[in-house]
């Protein structure tokens, strides 16, 4: 399946580690889909399943995000630089409800609420890991 250009969502992207890796990642496992690896362009989506949605609850932040399941692909584009990465859904997250109202800005324009979590491989393709958050547009 190829990444598309139809607008799906916008918000904050954060990053997380998964798979058999060093440090705090060691206990993370391969995610809800059983395929997640930090070194691949993968992502976590808040509405991967009903059980996932119960944990992340983006709706509590006004984000009625649609269901997308394991293996779905999306383009994630940095709001300001235009850098884009194509990712495959492999886990449930981020916990949107815990950070309602949080905003990340660039060039004076802000995106609000955590809507997607990227692996280090994917996040570093469009931004710096040390920033922790990026404002992004998501396409499918």
């Amino acid at each position: 399946m190829a990444c598309g250009s139809t607008s799906l969502w916008a918000g904050e992207a954060t990053w997380f580690c998964c798979g058999n890796a060093w440090g705090s990642c060691g206990s993370a496992g391969t995610g809800a889909c059983g395929t997640c690896q930090s070194s691949k362009h993968m992502a976590a989506w808040p509405n991967l399943s009903a059980a996932c949605y119960d944990i992340t609850r983006p709706d509590l932040c006004g984000e009625g995000m649609p269901r997308r399941t394991c293996g779905a692909v999306m383009n994630v584009k940095h709001q300001c630089s235009g850098a884009t990465v194509c990712v495959t859904l492999a886990d449930c997250g981020p916990r949107t409800k815990s950070f309602c109202g949080e905003a990340t800005c660039c060039n004076g324009a802000c995106r609000t609420n955590r809507v997607i979590d990227l692996t280090p491989s994917a996040f570093s393709a469009i931004g710096s890991l040390s920033s922790g958050k990026l404002p992004v547009y998501i396409y499918e």
Binding site: S39, S81, F99, S131
Partner: protein, 208 residues
């Protein structure tokens, strides 16, 4: 001029990736200082990113450093891969803060982004050493540390003077951690300590 911006060299405009691959091919061994200016990884992305040279494939590496030979990091990937990562004049290094290659040690974990070289090595554009970004629940608070629950694991997050900052519900960064509460959910970005598995906190983002 930032390395993310264009620089004149020999009458030809060079983008960051072209510069670092040129530096790697040329055997440049100067690390920690740049002829092009600041090397902060965040600054590298502060400006709109120039189009990458499609003739030079991008590369990513993840793993632990098993040896350091001059300006080359020998890295064992977590899934059996092996990487040789070249540090050049244009490489930005992060280890709890923006730093220089001298701070990198054998045993450290890393993520590296760069360009794939013809000889199989990676010319690094940015190297993040021991960086972690974990979702936690705060279980205890002391003057110099936070006790954190990450999944089923308990981790100590060390508060580093002049470095650790906090953000409350997306607010501006502050050195004041006094509003941190037990039971609060948080995202901790910091540097993992290979010796004991704990974390030096760069930034803690407090949620609801």
């Amino acid at each position: 001029m930032s390395p993310s911006q264009h620089s004149e060299s020999g009458g030809r405009r060079l983008d960051r990736r072209r510069f670092l691959t040129t530096a790697a091919i040329g055997g440049a061994t100067i690390v920690g200082a740049s002829a092009l200016g600041g090397l902060d990884a965040d600054a590298a992305f502060a400006e709109p990113m120039p189009s990458l040279d499609t003739a030079i494939p991008a590369a990513f590496a993840e793993g632990r450093i098993v040896a350091i030979n001059r300006n080359v990091l020998d890295v064992a990937g977590s899934h059996g891969e092996r990487y040789l990562i070249q540090l050049t004049n244009a490489t930005s290094v992060w280890k709890l803060r923006t730093t220089t290659a001298e701070a990198i040690e054998v045993g450290d974990g890393l993520y590296a982004r760069g360009a794939a070289m013809p000889d199989g090595t990676i010319a690094a554009d940015a190297v993040w050493v021991n960086i972690v970004n974990v979702y936690v629940t705060i279980r205890g608070i002391a003057k110099d540390r936070l006790h954190l629950q990450h999944g089923s694991a308990e981790v100590v997050g060390h508060i580093v003077p002049d470095t650790t900052t906090a953000s409350y519900l997306g607010g501006a960064l502050t050195a004041d951690l006094s509003k941190t509460r037990i039971g609060q959910e948080a995202q901790v970005l910091g540097a993992w300590r290979p010796a004991d598995g704990n974390i030096d906190i760069a930034r803690v983002s407090l949620g609801h």
